[in-house]
Structures are given as structure tokens and as C-alpha cells.
Amino acid sequence: MAIVIAIVSFGFVGYLVFPDVYITAQEQPEVFVTHTGAVVQTTGDVLDPVYTIQEVEFDPEKYLRDFDYGKVSQLEDGTILREYTIIAEDDKIMEVAPGIFYNVWTFNGQVPGPTIRATEGDLVKIYFTNNGSKEHTIHFHGNHPAEMDGIFEIVGSGGGQFTYEFIAGPAGVHPYHCHVMPVEEHIGHGLYGVFIVDPKEGRQQADEMVMMLNGFDTDFDGENNLYAANTIPFYYHHHPIQVNTNELIRVYVVNMVGLDPINNFHLHGTLYKYYPTGTDMIPSEFTDMTTFSQSERGILEFEYQDTGRYMFHAHLTEFSEKGWSGVFYAKDSSQLNMEGYAYGS
């Protein structure tokens, strides 16, 4: 008995002190590429947020150019009515980065919620259902009556309902988000989205896309662990956004990063016209770096003359190296057109 105990305890201590002896290597070596391009071989597993193709539940590729124009109908006075359904939930566990599982709170099952798009002057009706376990609301930035603000009209958990109804405006890009306190918690878990109001006269035809700048504090220590444009860290770094040369690109950028007071956007290879909040048709700046405070947003317009890969990222390098970076891959437009490939809304 004593001998058995002694052997077991020695074996256990030995295992603790010299684990290497007990480690048996995998047969097939794996390979990964570092940020600087070196190729490294390992007998174990690769921990790589960038270069491995991941099955992501949320597809940033799809979200990028996905606009929800609602169910469209016309009222007797000629006003366009756009109806949307948004359901809030707060029990989903999502893989926000390869291997990292986080409890996201969602509008229509995704973070960010769907990009709601209407034209200035349209009547917007949003049928909101709260299927979560907590109280939630939707607070739209923009013009609306006080009782449509989503602040005092708390929508109860487990199927509470509310219909937000207002005339879309002003033209520009706005966020929407849950406004139940603690707001930081409700936004931090993912209850936000983009609301685009197109001017009546429209904008110039362009390849349009949405970038929601967001972050996740996965260990609740008051600092974001991950940053991204459109939720998944490094996604566009690994899957470059395909664009055409000599075609206008329009990016609707909204910053919903909590905990950090500012975020920013930096573009490589060219400069862009910047329209703060998108409310004015005349750009305020021609630049390649814009600073965004929380909920600050704007429209970027630019085009590439030359083909190739151009980075875009937070110039706060901490954010970019924790996931908020990506690449535009500019291809020859004439070639693409021959393939019958077209962008835009």
C-alpha cells in the first residue's frame, strides 16, 4: 500500500517537474507564417488569429456590403414606408476570434446588427421584439420624436415588443444601439448596428461598404482584448476586400468601441475625402487618418489607380495589432468587368 502510494506520488511529482518526458509529439508537423513572413514549423497546434482559414459564425465578407432596405411599400401620400423586424437576444455564445468564445448579445442574431438603410424622408417602422433575458431597447441616432428614442421606453425581457416609427433623417451614417443601463455592458456585448440614411438626391454610384469598428473585453478587466472592423479580428487582413481600380469606393465607418475613448482609421496608398457623419455633401477633409470618439462616424470616399494590396487599420498600433487591421486588394477594373463582376448597391 505504502509502496503504491509512494510510486504514484513520485510519478505525479515527476510529471509536474519534468513534463517534457511525458509529452509525446504529434506525427505530422504543422506550419505557420509569422507577421514578418517567416515560416515556422511545429509538432503541436498553431495559435494563429490571422492566417488560418476559420469557420466564423459571423461572416464579415457578407456583412461588409449587406444593406437591409426593409419591406418597401408606398403610402397614399406618396411617402415610402420601410418596415424592418429586429429581434434582440442575449444568450448566444459566439466564436469572436479563432478559439475564443464570448457571450454576444445580438440584434437579429449577429454583431453588429443588420445595416438598416433608408432614404431621407422615408417612414421607417421597426418592429422590435426582445427575446433576451434582460431589458433592451433600440436607440437610433438621428431625428425622431422623444417617445421613439429608446431611452424611457424599456422593452421587457422574454418577448417584450415595441415599434419604433419615425421619418428617416438627416442624411448620413448613424449608429443604433441598446440604451439600457449599464449602457457600456449592453454595447460591449454587441447590441449595436449601422443606420444609413441616403440623401434624396442620392450619392454618386460607388462600391459601398460598411465598417463597424468594434472591440470585445472578453475577460471583463476593463480593457478590450480584441479589436476589429466588423467583429472578427484580422479578418480582412487574411481575406482582403476586393475592389476595382479607378472605381469610387465609399466606406461608411462607425466607431462603437467602448472602454477606449478614441479609435482611428488610417488608409494606405491614397487619401480619401472625409464627410463627418455624412450629413454634408462637401467633404471636410482630404486625409488618410481620421480620429473617432465613441459613436463618432463618417463617410470615406476614395479610389485606387494602381493594382495591389493596400492596408487599412487603426493607427493606434495597439488596436491594429489586436485585430483592427485589414487589406484592400485593388484589381484591374477592366479585367474584372470582362468577367461580368460588378459591385455596388
Binding site: Q26, H35, V40, D48, A97, P98
Partner: protein
């Protein structure tokens, strides 16, 4: 015969029954379908035990020190995410450990924080004060550490042994004083060894190991084991006047050897951790300090005739472990191994103290005479003063 066998069976059954009942209870409480202990949230916990800097790579040794298994999913340096590899695999059961290799062009002399994130998004960090190239066990480095171990361990102990003729000429009461002085020296060493073990466990071991209790348990077990061995040794040697002192000196040498192993560890680890200045101080300090250890070995043998061979052998037993310590500390530093070795050393030293006291009592009658008490006090004071130099 029959009766005896059946009583044996009865005894065995009576031993087993409580275990069976305990197993049934544990099965009922924790087993499948049990809802009794379903409350609370168990959080994952990992410890980064070691960080090494090699060519274009930072290597972290990580252990699952929580109550549930975890997956390591992300690595970062200074809070910046990097592609990395984990060997043998990213899934860690309780107490399992793995090596995380993070390709990174690090700069010598700069501080770095190594972070690992587990699957629920919790990030764990280890701060390294100074990045220095990890030392590879080349022939050159092996001999370098051997030379340092010799300077720290062997030479000072042998120098200390040169007091032998002086001690052997002393009067009875003065001799008692010096023997007691040895107790003081060892008392100090024992306390400092325990302190070091507790310090390492506090700084480098996860709470799950219960550092102080680990040290206490290992020290007590080693004390008892050496006590048993010592007793056997003495019995076998009989009441011979010669064997007694030699046995005690031998035990002192073994105890001091274990202690010097700890000193070697400290020096090796300091050099590896890039604390070159600390390493140099440790070398000088330990060298001065260890001269007194030679004295401690010489003292009990001073009443016997001079046996240079035995004396030198004991000097080696006490000194050589410093070289092994420097190798282990320099090449494969493991905080857990260090704590265990130091705790064994603590037990060994206290066991030696008890042996010397018993010996003085047998030889001289009583312990509480003035020269014995003064000797212990002076011994501790000498050690304290030499230890300030470290």
C-alpha cells in the same frame, strides 16, 4: 490457523468498508445526474511558469493550474497578438503543461510581457523584467557553471576545513562553544533555505500548489527520513567513539550539500534571468558564507584523529552539489523542482541540528550551559553578517 485467517479477513474488511462508503458518497455527490454541487462558476486558470528567449523566438512554459481543462487559443507579446505554436497541443488537462513558441524579434535587455488567452477569453500574463538569451547547455557553458560552482561550493568549504587543527587543540568548554557555533550556523542556513523555498513558490508557483504547505510537507518528510537513516547509521556504527563524530560530520556535509545545491540554483537562475550583477554578488557572498560551512563539518570531527581523506570527501559532498545546482538553475530552471530541492535541504539541515544537539548532550551531559548558548548565538550572528554581503 483457520481462526487467524478469518480474523485477518475481518481486519481487511474493516479497513476497506469505510473506503467503500466514502466512494459511494463521493459517487452520489459528484456522479452523473447529481445536482447537489451544480452551483457556482468554475473559472479556468493557467500559470506561465517560465519564459525563455531564443533566436527570434520567445518560449513560454504554461501549466493548467485551474480545476477544469482549458484550451490555449491565443498568444501575445506586450498585449499585441502574434501567431504562435503550442506543443504538444493546445488542450491542457488539469496540471498538464505545454510549451508556447512565439516567433518574435526581441531586444536584449528590454522588459516583455507574455500573455496567453484561453477559450473563454480570459488572458493571463507573465512579466519578464529583462530579456536575455536563454543559455544553451554547450560544453563552454557547462564548464562555466562548473567553475562557478567550484568557487562557491567546493573551495570555500575546503578552506573552512582548514580550521580543523585549530579546533582540535581547543579546551573542552571552548570546543563545546565551537560545536554550538555550528548549530547557530546551521539554524541560520535552515531558516534561510526555507525562506528561499517559500519565496520562489510565492513568486513563481501557482496558488494551487499551496507553496508554504508544500515546503513544510517536504521539509518534515525529509527531516523524518534523514532522522531514520541517521539513526540506522549510528546503530550500525555501534558506540565506537570514532564512528559517532564521523557519522555526524557526514550528515552535516549532506545537509550542507543540499543547501549548497539551492545556492547553485540561485546563482544559475540569476545568471539565466539576466541579473548578472545579482549573480556576481551571490557568488562573492556565498563564497564567504560557505567558508563557515567547512568549519561546521570540521567541528564534530575535531576530537578524533585527523583523517584528511574523510574530511576532504565530506568537503566534496558539501560543495559539489553547488555545481549541480548551477547546472539545473542555469539550464532547466523549474520553480517547482527548485522549491522541492530547497525544502528537502531545509529538512536535512534541521535534522543535522537535532543530531548535533543530541550528540552534545550525550558527550557533555546538558545543553543549557553558557558556552553552548553563546555558541549558537554567535553562530547565527556570524551568518547574518556574512549574509548581508549577498
Amino acid at each position: 490457523m483457520e481462526v487467524k485467517r478469518s480474523s485477518n479477513v475481518k481486519t481487511a474488511v474493516s479497513v476497506i468498508i469505510p473506503f467503500v462508503l466514502l466512494a459511494i458518497m463521493i459517487g452520489y455527490v459528484f456522479g452523473p445526474g447529481s445536482e447537489l454541487i451544480g452551483y457556482g462558476v468554475v473559472l479556468p486558470e493557467i500559470s506561465i511558469e517560465k519564459v525563455e528567449f531564443v533566436d527570434s523566438e520567445i518560449i513560454a512554459t504554461v501549466r493548467n493550474t485551474g480545476q477544469i481543462s482549458v484550451n490555449i487559443v491565443m498568444a501575445d507579446i506586450n498585449d499585441r497578438i502574434y501567431p504562435a505554436a503550442i506543443e504538444p497541443d493546445k488542450h491542457l488537462e488539469r496540471f498538464e503543461s505545454a510549451i508556447v513558441r512565439i516567433p518574435f524579434e526581441w531586444n536584449e535587455g528590454e522588459p516583455y510581457a507574455v500573455g496567453l488567452t484561453v477559450d473563454d477569453g480570459t488572458r493571463f500574463e507573465k512579466q519578464v523584467d529583462v530579456a536575455v538569451p536563454s543559455i544553451q547547455p554547450t560544453v563552454e557553458m557547462i564548464s562555466y557553471f562548473a567553475v562557478i560552482g567550484t568557487y562557491v561550493g567546493i573551495i570555500p568549504v575546503l578552506i573552512g576545513l582548514l580550521w580543523f587543527p585549530f579546533i582540535s587543540k581547543l579546551s573542552r568548554s571552548k570546543y563545546k562553544f565551537f560545536l554550538a557555533l555550528t548549530i547557530g550556523l546551521l539554524l541560520f542556513l535552515g531558516i534561510s533555505t526555507a525562506e528561499e523555498a517559500i519565496e520562489i513558490s510565492a513568486n513563481n508557483l501557482s496558488d494551487v500548489f499551496n507553496g508554504v504547505l508544500l515546503v513544510a510537507t517536504v521539509a518534515v518528510v525529509s527531516f523524518l527520513a534523514l532522522n531514520y537513516v541517521g539513526e540506522k547509521l549510528r546503530k550500525r556504527a555501534g558506540a565506537s567513539k570514532l564512528a559517532g563524530p564521523v557519522a555526524i560530520a557526514l550528515m552535516i556535509a549532506i545537509g550542507i550539500g543540499l543547501h549548497n545545491f539551492g545556492e547553485g540554483l540561485a546563482i544559475g537562475a540569476a545568471i539565466v534571468l539576466g541579473e548578472a550583477a545579482l549573480g556576481a554578488f551571490l557568488i562573492v557572498g556565498f563564497a564567504l558564507h560557505n567558508t563557515t560551512e567547512g568549519f561546521a563539518i570540521a567541528a564534530p570531527m575535531a576530537r578524533t584523529k585527523l583523517m584528511i581523506g574523510k574530511l576532504a570527501a565530506m568537503g566534496m559532498i558539501a560543495g559539489v552539489p553547488a555545481i549541480f545546482g548551477a547546472w539545473v538553475g542555469g539550464f532547466s530552471y523549474s520553480p517547482l523542482a527548485a522549491v522541492i530541492f530547497l525544502a528537502i535541504g531545509t529538512g536535512a539541515i534541521f535534522q543535522v541540528i537535532v543530531s548535533i544537539m543530541r550528540w552534545i548532550q550525550n558527550e557533555e551531559g546538558k545543553l543549557s550551559n553558557s558556552s553552548v548558548l553563546a555558541g549558537i548565538a554567535v553562530g547565527m550572528i556570524i551568518m547574518y553578517i556574512t549574509s548581508i554581503l549577498i
